[in-house]
Symmetry: C2
Subunit: 137 residues, 2 copies
């Protein structure tokens, strides 16, 4: 799993320190979208000496290297997620905070079309749906 990230680091000429390896491992294993503090907690279980400043520096580094993405969902805290092959968007349960990942090719297509219409080349996008589970409560 995390060899993936380590490979990308080497490809980008990013120095592979022990701390970065640990953070890479944690992010590879994460099935959710942890914020920096959450990452710090998980990382600390493996190496309690790692400082939160290093976690901040590392996620920023990974983001610039295109290894992880940053999300600014509700709540102010930045949350991170590893980038794999498949791009996807998020459906967020406003009651539970649960996050569902999805892809919809049709929407992707339309987005490009909209950008075109205004004379732009789409380089990135963010789509978040906020919903309430049916039949709940």
């Amino acid at each position: 799993m995390s060899e993936n990230i380590e490979r990308k680091c080497k490809a980008k000429g990013v120095k592979l320190t022990d701390q970065r390896k640990i953070i890479a491992k944690i992010m590879s294993e994460a099935q959710d979208h942890p914020d920096v503090n959450e990452l710090y907690i998980r990382v600390s279980k493996i190496d309690p000496k790692i400082s939160i400043a290093t976690v901040y520096r590392t996620v920023k580094l990974f983001e610039e290297a295109g290894i992880v993405t940053k999300h600014d969902f509700k709540g102010g805290k930045a949350r991170y997620e590893q980038i794999n092959e498949g791009h996807h968007d998020h459906l967020i349960d406003v009651n539970t905070g649960e996050i569902i990942e999805f892809v919809d090719e049709e929407i992707e297509e339309l987005q490009k079309k909209v950008a075109e219409k205004y004379g732009y080349n789409l380089v990135d996008h963010k789509l978040e749906l906020y919903g309430i589970k049916k039949n709940s409560k």
Copy 2:
């Protein structure tokens, strides 16, 4: 323009203070998406005694009352925009920071469909496109 916001305040039972009237006016006139500090600067030109705490409290209040929306575009700072009849999304020029508002009914429809598919009722969404102007540079 701002009578619109003032009317909504009354409808919601929100007390109409001088400060709130001024902030409402500024937001009504804003054609852009100012952050709190920017609002504070504009508001200060009309009444220099208003504190930034009041601006924070007021935008939050307006947001809860459904009068303005909060955006978390890149950059960490929350930015606000008045809610008018028409909902719209944003196309952001990654080079200039310019923001274009747009609506695409087809995309709106598809979003509902996606939420449905996962058993959710869509209550809100956020769509941001980031693009580069064609033929620029």
